[in-house]
Symmetry: C2
């Protein structure tokens, strides 16, 4: 058995090959950051291996982030994947590869790229309907625009953090409906949102748009994303210009960027869109080819108890539709742009992707395996998101984990 | 007469000294970008001059942007201003300075810094009331939260462009109230928003906040900002998560960053806040010292006709309050963060800072000097924002211009 003899269901087999940025944990806080590829239970130091192998474009992985690689675009991504697959599966390159493998237990992971603009969508009909019922009980759950366009808003790129970063409970203004004026203090309704995040590469020029058919040229990869949310702060501030401080304190992403190439076997039709969207959201064909969903199974663990299993295939809008929409006004797309899907929720309680929905705004507590109950997050609570998707030839593609622990307000 | 013998009312005298990034126009598109300081009708090549003068920290201005200088923070900004003032007013350094001056007519200006996160506020009571009356005629003009917190939202950092960049008319979904479903096409209600933009320097760590009293440590400077807005796209998309594509296609800023140091003589009390805001927006003193307004006179020119003269002193919330608010939840502040004030509008028609208000949603056309009338922007229209403020000792501080011309939709 060698490091390459991985069981077929290993989430980080040769069909996956996600990219990340690591340092050697022993080397401390100032250790050099390196671009790595996860292979089984090891991380390949990509620049070092590629340079030793004499790969021409190895320099793109120097610099301790995926930024330069993201900028290169689809042809470079395809070439790198072919090169990697070849070198990892051919005995001839074994020495060169093995010289640059680090056990995954010995590394510390970092934010894999510089987040350019961060947009968060709202693409689950179940989530949007539930939130509508909770936040606006006297109105229709879905706003009139919801089925015509993927609703989104810009979030704070500077507070996107890598999995494992502690989350300090935010303070801010809250005004319960029963009080005449707002008060200031730590959020009392701290929540998660289980999402996928889409990592964009390549670039466009101001005034150009990314057509639906071209979205795959810019969709480099996918991460797990936890859009931490302070529901009390959000509820008071969000009319009329949308969420701001209720979201901007932190957004966690998983360290491994799973490529869209690794997710080709996970493509599934969308659940169905009625009314038919406008042509720029339909593509030039019948829509099935470009506006596809992804069969990603997500798991939400709260202090060791799995409390929800959202299915990404239930999402109403596709990732390609979201990218086509966000650039249809000519907004520039830059390498490192990140967009979240919005909370992934399904039709049943056990598939709801945030605690606002899961506890129905605090009215239906969640029981954990240790016997404790929860509505919103308490200090010291840890949330882990995990996901898998079907890979090529019956394999499994793993996303790893997106973890965060809540620390008391300062 | 030398280049230094500037009339006392010159908007770029020694009391101003704004920073920008220029290249020599003759050298073409790929010319080297240099950090410059505007002095009279010249631009000083700052790194070259400082290096020749043996200034220790001159390297911070190498690199063709203000990024490194912004990161250094207030002590470095103060030292640079003192050094500049000394070298520009002392005959001893004349040769060294003159060797690095370029006539302003010979330069091309660029985006002065990499925009980290861009936030847009909504800090004019007159503007928010007018927009409320127009967009939500059946509700109170101001939402219940408006006087408790400076409402803001994140915009798209990647589409902040320097003055002079053409603005391509955006396309998107519009649904007039009279139509049953949305249609797709070029915006028919393209508008401007005349604002000031605040350029942030220094940095905080995740979970820390910038107290009101410390805001000046992070407020490096001020630019003119035109938050181009497609009102029809915005009106259809903005409920419930706020403006998105109606704003994200372009935001123009003036090329010269006027330092907050140059604006000390322009500080004025706020118009008054009732109800009294929560303590974190009041500061530790009586509020007058830290939550001050700025006496900046803005001018909006439409195809050569000045159509409005908004006064920044009419703003309800102060820049320091906006910064304290945006970080009170522990959101990181990074060098290069930019926040807009929101449209500057006063109580009278001639002080309204956007065409939505000026034409009262298209019902009251504006007559230009050439006899033409306008409600919203037509292709080929040019808008120029200009501003001045009182400087030290009776001088005038100029902001220069923020210009944009509308090009047809693609």
């Amino acid at each position: 058995m060698t490091w390459l003899d991985l069981p077929a269901d290993h989430p980080f087999g040769l069909h996956n090959l996600p990219y990340g940025v690591f340092s050697v944990a022993d080397e401390g806080d100032d250790a050099v950051r390196r671009v790595g590829v996860r292979v089984g239970d090891h991380v390949l130091d990509l620049a070092a291996c590629a340079e030793q192998a004499g790969m021409e474009s190895a320099a793109v992985w120097r610099g301790g982030s995926l930024d330069a690689f993201l900028a290169e675009g689809r042809p470079a991504w395809a070439a790198a994947r072919a090169w990697l697959t070849g070198h990892l599966s051919n005995e001839e390159y074994r020495d060169c590869v093995e010289a640059h493998l680090v056990p995954v237990g010995d590394v510390r992971m970092h934010l894999p790229f510089s987040v350019a603009d961060y947009v968060d969508f709202y693409a689950s009909e179940h989530h949007a309907s539930n939130v509508g019922r909770i936040f606006r009980p006297d109105s229709e759950p879905l706003t009139p625009n919801w089925k015509h366009l993927p609703i989104g808003y810009h979030g704070r790129a500077g507070t996107v953090v890598v999995s494992g970063t502690d989350i300090v409970r935010p303070s801010g203004q809250r005004k319960p409906p029963t009080e005449p004026v707002p008060t200031f203090g730590p959020s009392l309704r701290l929540d998660i949102e289980a999402e996928l995040g889409f990592v964009v590469g390549g670039a466009t020029r101001l005034g150009e748009r990314v057509a639906l058919e071209d979205a795959d040229e810019h969709l480099f990869g996918v991460v797990l994303l936890n859009d931490w949310s302070a529901r009390d702060i959000q509820a008071w501030e969000y009319v009329p210009l949308g969420p701001f401080l209720g979201k901007s304190f932190a957004t966690s992403i998983s360290p491994w960027v799973v490529t869209t190439d690794a997710l080709r076997a996970a493509r599934v039709p969308l659940p169905g869109q009625d009314p038919e969207p406008l042509p720029y959201l339909r593509g030039s064909g019948d829509g099935a080819g470009t506006a596809y969903g992804l069969d990603v199974h997500v798991e939400v663990e709260w202090n060791g108890t799995v409390v929800s299993r959202p299915e990404f295939r239930d999402m109403y809008w596709s990732p390609a539709q979201m990218l086509a929409h966000l650039s249809v006004n000519g907004a520039t797309v830059r390498p490192g742009d990140l967009f979240g899907s919005g909370t992934i929720s399904g039709p049943h309680r056990g598939t709801r992707g945030c605690f606002l929905e899961l506890s129905w705004s605090g009215q239906e507590p969640v029981t954990l395996d240790d016997g404790g109950t929860r509505t919103f997050l308490e200090d010291g609570d840890t949330v882990v998101l995990r996901a898998t998707a079907p890979g090529a030839d019956g394999t499994v593609v793993g996303f790893g984990e997106c973890v965060g622990t809540v620390r008391p307000a300062r």
